[in-house]
């Protein structure tokens, strides 16, 4: 503890809301007894603009270097007082807020116990203030190259968006050409252009952009470091080459698995999946006046994609080939731009929609498809099993993460979310963010999605990367935990338990322990949860603003004789 700690306590009445329950005089007479308290003052309304200037003056006049505000602790007020500290030339972290209003006055009736509590809370705030430490800003050099993994539409869009913001981009695709799943799709809902055309345009834009380097037949083998300073080992033909990048975008998409066994069928010319149907349509196969049945259900309801594709293709077959299309469904989900309209259009165009619950039997006999099912609606009027004969049966594919997603997640140190897709961090913040800053998700790798969503998600990712890595050097507040190297035994506990992968083990003579190494927290990647500080068996880690000594001092100050 510094010897010249001078604490100023500012007490707010909050227009009488606080003093109606507790007594200012009683609290301050106790507070004034505390050794380092140099100045105490009360105010009717401390967060008023003029009061800010007054606090500023008092800070310089009394050479105060720790400030306690007793009143409320709203984030708006906290921001206001931090600004006041900065104006007065103090570090904004030398502020301790005591929420007397929310923790005491608003929730208790006036009585002797409340008096004791109010004095204690004030003492706890002062005790914490005495131990507060400055938190400085630091300049962190960052690498402004972005690695995009996966060269589907999402990967290409993200590459272009990042290049447009002045980043260099390395686009790694595991296949020998760009394009991804969309290259095999026949049409895009709501878009008048052929997917092949759209992709061609993107591939040209990507390959002709001098800021984008495309690496095909390439996968990510290993990864080290953190946002602003990753080392990625790219594997091509069995050889690994390291590249230095500042951020990583995963755009590995989905894969479809055709599994007719689930419906009691085996692969045949007239038993096909939606993906195959798209392919046949794109290749110009004639379905003129055919009878085609489609199914949605049996566990494919988790995502929107299968419904929308089925309705899209049903409508197309009906309109283009005058085919008879029967769509068997357990549920129809068309929540999205214009999808509802597409569904009503399909009905109006004469697509037959049949609801089934569980009872459906499909058999493929001599090139003929026979479907027996029970209709829960019609069944009330005309009970029994209905039979429909078709030329083709089109089944929905299973949508699963791209092959190798699990290994990739391991390398990136990300967790997998629902259905083993890559997991977003917090849908409320930015759906493209992962639990690790500097690693983002674009396109279908987090959930099977649509083309129109890809552009938005690519832009969002590029903006977020730009926000973080806006220059060769970025200024950050060093609020990440710090490690006392003399206590660190390099046990890797913190490295393993950090939910944001923000910790690395660094080596060097400056680390004064047997191993000449210590854990180091990255200021750009750390989110200040303090989990590492709690887990460290050596108590080597301290989280600024919540150090052990600050919390212990608060506990100790609790003890007060009424």
């Amino acid at each position: 503890m510094e010897n010249n700690t001078r604490i100023g306590v500012f007490f707010c009445n909050c227009n009488g809301k606080i003093t109606e329950k507790v007594d200012y005089e009683e609290i301050t007479s106790e507070i004034k007894k505390l050794p380092q308290v140099e100045y105490v003052r009360d105010s009717q309304n401390l967060c008023a603009h003029l009061e800010g200037e007054l606090i500023c003056k008092e800070i310089s006049k009394n050479q105060l270097n720790r400030i306690v505000v007793i009143g409320c602790a709203g984030s708006r007020e906290e921001g206001f007082f931090r600004e006041v500290l900065v104006k007065a030339g103090l570090n904004p972290h030398l502020l301790s807020m005591v929420n007397l209003l929310g923790e005491c006055c608003a929730v208790h009736e006036k009585n002797p116990q409340v008096k004791v509590k109010s004095i204690e809370l004030a003492r706890m705030g002062v005790a914490r203030a005495a131990l507060l430490e400055e938190v400085k800003h630091g300049d962190v050099p960052v690498n402004r190259t972005v690695l995009v993994i996966g060269g589907g539409l999402a990967g290409m869009e993200t590459a272009l968006e990042n290049a447009a913001r002045g980043f260099k981009v390395i686009l790694a695709e595991k296949e020998d050409k760009l394009g991804g799943r969309l290259a095999r799709v026949n049409s895009i809902i709501g878009v008048d252009r052929k997917p092949a055309e759209l992709l061609d345009e993107k591939v040209k834009a990507v390959t002709s952009n001098p800021a984008i380097e495309v690496r095909t037949n390439t996968r990510l083998g290993d990864l080290d470091g953190n946002i602003g300073g990753f080392t990625a080992w790219l594997v091509k033909d069995g050889t690994e080459t390291p590249v230095e990048v500042g951020a990583i975008v995963v755009a590995t998409g989905v894969q479809t698995i055709f599994c007719p066994v689930k419906y009691g069928l085996s692969i045949a010319d007239n038993v096909i999946g939606q993906m195959k149907l798209e392919r046949l349509l794109a290749d110009g196969k004639d379905f003129n006046r055919k009878n085609i049945s489609m199914i949605i259900g049996k566990g494919t309801e988790a995502f929107n994609l299968p419904f929308v594709i089925a309705v899209k293709n049903a409508l197309l077959l009906r309109q283009k080939f005058n085919a008879t299309v029967n769509l068997f469904y357990t549920n129809i989900k068309v929540g999205g731009d214009n999808w509802e309209k597409m569904y009503t259009d399909a009905r109006a165009a004469g697509v037959n929609f049949f609801k089934f619950e569980d009872n459906i039997e499909i058999a493929a006999n001599n090139g003929e498809i026979i479907i027996n099912y029970e209709d829960p609606f019609l069944g009330n009027k005309v009970p029994g099993t209905y039979k429909i004969t078709s030329d083709y049966i089109v089944l929905p594919e299973e949508l699963v993460p791209s092959e190798g997603t699990e290994e990739l997640a391991g390398v990136l140190r990300l967790e997998l979310g629902p259905a083993s897709f890559l997991s977003i961090d917090n849908a409320h913040i930015l759906p493209e963010m992962t639990s690790r800053d500097g690693i983002y998700l674009a396109g279908s790798c987090q959930m099977p999605g649509f083309v129109n969503e890809i552009e938005i998600s690519a832009k969002a990712v590029a903006e977020e990367i730009f926000r973080k890595l806006y220059d060769e050097k970025v200024s950050v507040e060093m609020t990440q935990p710090y490690v006392d190297a003399t206590k660190c035994v390099v046990c890797l506990t913190c490295y393993r338990c950090c939910p944001h992968g923000a910790i690395t083990i660094e080596h060097g003579e400056q680390y004064e322990n047997l191993y000449k190494s210590a854990a180091v927290m990255n200021p750009l990647a750390c989110r200040k949860c303090g989990i590492c500080a709690a887990e460290c068996p050596g108590k080597a880690i301290q989280l600024p603003d919540y150090t052990d000594s600050q919390i212990l001092a608060q506990l100790e100050a609790m003890e007060v004789q009424p």
Binding site: A73, G74, N99, L101, G102, E103, C104, A106, V107, H108, E109, N111, Q113, V114, V116, K117, E120, L121, M124, E415, D425, N426, S435, C497, P499, H500, R527, K528, C529, G530, I531, A533, A534, E535, K539, L543, Y546, D548, I551, L552, Q554, L555, E556, M558, E559, Q561
Partner: protein, 149 residues
């Protein structure tokens, strides 16, 4: 001395329990003044040492309040807190203070009424248990311990 009034420390996560407490304040929900809150960035910040130290400093009960399971702002901090609280319970049982004096609660930032409910629950429980053997404020008569004095 008047009726026993326990002293209970609540380590509250900023993102949920502390916001819930704030909401309870805005809603003017009443709860016993025996609760002392200490705000934390995450319930996962609280380690066993801090829980035990609270008892050494005279607390009669301690609870850690974090986000609902699966909803932790930092993914799994509340699961870590849960494990540590379970561990602290064992230690407190072993040393004769009693594991019931410490508890883990999960609530979201919008659960102001639940916050007040938890405060009541913990207050009633600790009041029923009487002062902690380490509580120096309580008179000798009130301290129920036999072998810990």
């Amino acid at each position: 001395m008047s009726e026993f009034q326990p002293k209970i420390v609540a380590f509250c996560c900023y993102y949920c329990a502390y916001s819930a407490a704030d909401l309870a304040g805005s809603m003017r929900l009443q709860y016993p003044p025996t609760i002392r809150m200490i705000e934390q960035p995450c319930s996962g910040r609280i380690d066993i040492q801090l829980i035990l130290q609270a008892f050494e400093d005279g607390a009669d009960g301690v609870y850690v309040a974090g986000c609902l399971e699966g909803d932790c702002h930092f993914l799994k901090g509340n699961y870590r807190a849960k494990r540590r609280v379970a561990e602290a319970k064992k230690i407190l049982d072993d040393v004769g203070i009693g594991g019931e004096r410490v508890e883990m609660y999960n609530l979201s930032g919008s659960m102001g009424p639940r916050f007040a409910e938890v405060a009541h629950e913990m207050h009633d429980r600790i009041k029923g248990l009487g002062p902690s053997p380490l509580n120096k404020r309580a008179t000798k008569k009130e301290v129920m311990t036999g072998d810990c004095s």
